[in-house]
């Protein structure tokens, strides 16, 4: 997260709901919810329009569960990451860094709605005062620039505490449908403004992990809203589904093992294509609210 992010987010989307930063969490790299192939029909969440609001209630409830799942996984992954850092295992710390962040990145807008948590977990260098800078990116710099885990013990402990605090706080947050709509677009805006430019992971260059996680998080939101959207505007639902499929396909060549290639390995032409795929997806996604009557 960063001031830059916040500004970009404010400019890109008219919502200030999540005026925070970007962060991520995750322990592993498997594509969470985005179908790897063509948009297969998603299992109906059982929310076929009965009353006007019931389906959306269903959707928010499903999404709340998803957020909690991701948070649980985030805490677990962070524990492993932090353990590696504190035990002085540089290689393992580097390996776990990006996958851990993915859990956080999938639910970034929610975390951003929770006050200082996002900066504490995800601030990039220069976003906050040097004295206050902590979290993933502080450790990232040590791991990749200084190539050491030394001196990171305190930041590691803080990070774990912050992840647990996040898990506790998400229980309290009220998720409404408008938040979902904004959040989905916000996730893609994060991709547009900091991931596709390589700014998020300036030392580790693992931006594509965050990229994929943001897209997966946006897909989850679409997935929970989809039954209702299909009932109201099947053409829009279809367009969004196919744009997600194209997005996934566009990322496909950059998969490597369980993760992704480093940002630096992409040519300018390739990052441009990815960026255009994000724009192509985010435009119809930003219109989901049209038919949901939120």
């Amino acid at each position: 997260m960063q001031t830059r992010n916040m500004i970009a987010a404010a400019v890109l989307c008219s919502s200030f709901l999540f005026s925070g930063c970007s962060t991520e969490s995750t322990t592993n790299v498997q594509p969470a919810s985005v179908p790897a192939s063509a948009p297969a029909a998603q299992p109906d969440t059982g929310a076929t329009a009965a009353t006007a609001n019931a389906p959306l209630k269903d959707a928010t409830e499903q999404y709340r569960k998803y957020v909690i799942e991701q948070c649980d996984a985030f805490v677990k992954a962070t524990e492993e990451f932090v353990t590696a850092v504190k035990s002085g295992d540089l290689k393992k710390s580097q390996e776990l860094y990006a996958p851990t962040r993915m859990y956080y990145e999938r639910i970034e807008p929610i975390a951003e709605a929770l006050g200082d948590l996002d900066p504490n977990i995800d601030a990039r260098e220069g976003d906050v005062d040097e004295k206050e800078w902590r979290g993933f990116h502080r450790i990232e710099k040590a791991l990749w620039v200084d190539k050491t885990t030394k001196g990171q013990e305190t930041y590691a402990d803080q990070l774990l505490n912050d992840s647990k605090l996040l898990r506790a706080k998400v229980e309290t947050i009220e998720i409404d449908p408008a938040m979902l709509l904004t959040g989905a677009v916000e996730l893609l805006n994060e991709v547009s403004s900091s991931k596709v430019t390589g700014e998020e992971e300036r030392y580790s260059h693992t931006d594509l992990y965050d990229f994929a996680a943001n897209v997966e998080g946006a897909y989850k939101i679409f997935e929970v809203l989809k039954p209702e959207l299909e009932a109201k505007d099947p053409a829009l639902a279809k367009t969004i589904e196919s744009r997600f499929a194209e997005m996934t396909k566009a990322l496909e060549p950059y998969k490597k093992g369980d993760g992704y290639v480093l940002y630096q390995e992409l040519t300018q032409e390739q990052t441009k294509k990815l960026s255009q795929a994000v724009d192509a997806l985010a435009e119809p996604l930003s219109n989901m609210g049209k038919t949901l009557g939120v």
Binding site: T239, A280, K290
Partner: protein
Amino acid sequence: MNEQNNKPAETEAVTQPKEKSASTISRRDVLKMVGAGSIGLLFGMAGMGGVLVGGRSATAPAGVSPSPAQERIPFYGAHQAGILTPAQNFLCFASFDLTTRDVAEVVNLFRIWTDAAAKMTAGEPVGTESGNPILPPVDTGEAAGLHPSRTTITFGVGPSFFDQRFGLSAKRPAALVDLPKFAGENLRPEWCGGDIGVQVCSDDLQVAFHAVRNLTRLARGVAVLRWVQEGFQRTSAAGSPNETPRNLMGFKDGTGNPDTKDSKLMNELVWAQSSDGPAWMAGGSYLVARRIRMRIEVWDRSSLADQEATFGRYRSSGAPLGAKNEFDPLPLDAKGPDGQPVIPMNAHVRLAHSDGKEKILRRSYSYSSGIDPQTGQLDAGLFFICYQRDIRTQFIPIQQRLAREDKLNEYISHVGSAVFACFPGVREGGYLGQALFEG
């Protein structure tokens, strides 16, 4: 629209000399200095190509003639607007690449664009707002309250449009050729080509930008921008609209376009005829765009004598070297005391004049795009645009001649290039390229 608003263009038309003999040069002849040389801008095109109609503007008091800014140029008609239309003050040219492989999506894009272009040229937003605060606005909004400003939006398709992707290869017009390599050109891929070309011209740059931005937004997921170039020219606010305009090299240049009021001539030079084939292009026109960078810094330190020898004209008066007045005949055979031709053999004006056989309709704009990051020098020059009935017999021979010999080549560099087959006009209820897709 009303006579008064047409006045500057018409007045200028009147002051322009009509045909001259082949051995003389007129402002019209300067037209032929197309190509490399043709740094000439296309101001004050003779004649009104488009019918101007009063634009609707909330601010226009009833019974008062609309101001030029309120003039609206109809989008629908036998030919696309923006070709014969007298050049507006500003240009925003966008080249798009299609990302879809589905021809149905392409057709749909042109339908949507048709509707959007008709609205935007009329000074209307691109769509009706829902008023729903949780949705992004339909129109991006920066043109709200602005006048139609004689905006035209002209669409064409490039050679790559007819590759294997959409099954349209057989419909590619023979006249839509890939340009040959011209001597000395320095083309850069990021300024070349495109599946679709869109020329937006307006007297208000913000209105022009708005159009490109909204067309791009409407195309998301189907087409993406490949390059965009803004351009400008001496505006209609210029003190003496009848005077020949100057290019960025400081020389008077480029008023000698063919008379756009002469419909017979336009059919000969500009509009593709049904006999030319293919049928879907009848009434359309072929556009060549060249981004011609001027070596401004080098030019600025060239002596006056050198500059004048390059153009073959006096900078101040615009008169041919060895003559007195701007419209005097070119003394091509005159020799100086040293026995050399007064107008050098490689002077731009001499080569551009040639035998006057090839003619094209130019619609160029100056451009300025900041600085070249490598050198810190200005990236400025001419965004050359011309329309013609057949690129093979019009632009290409002219440019080949200039590319080979023109002294002006020392000071310019062609860095971008594109050709587009611009559709015939659209009838209300129809859409751009309909005859191509349904024919």
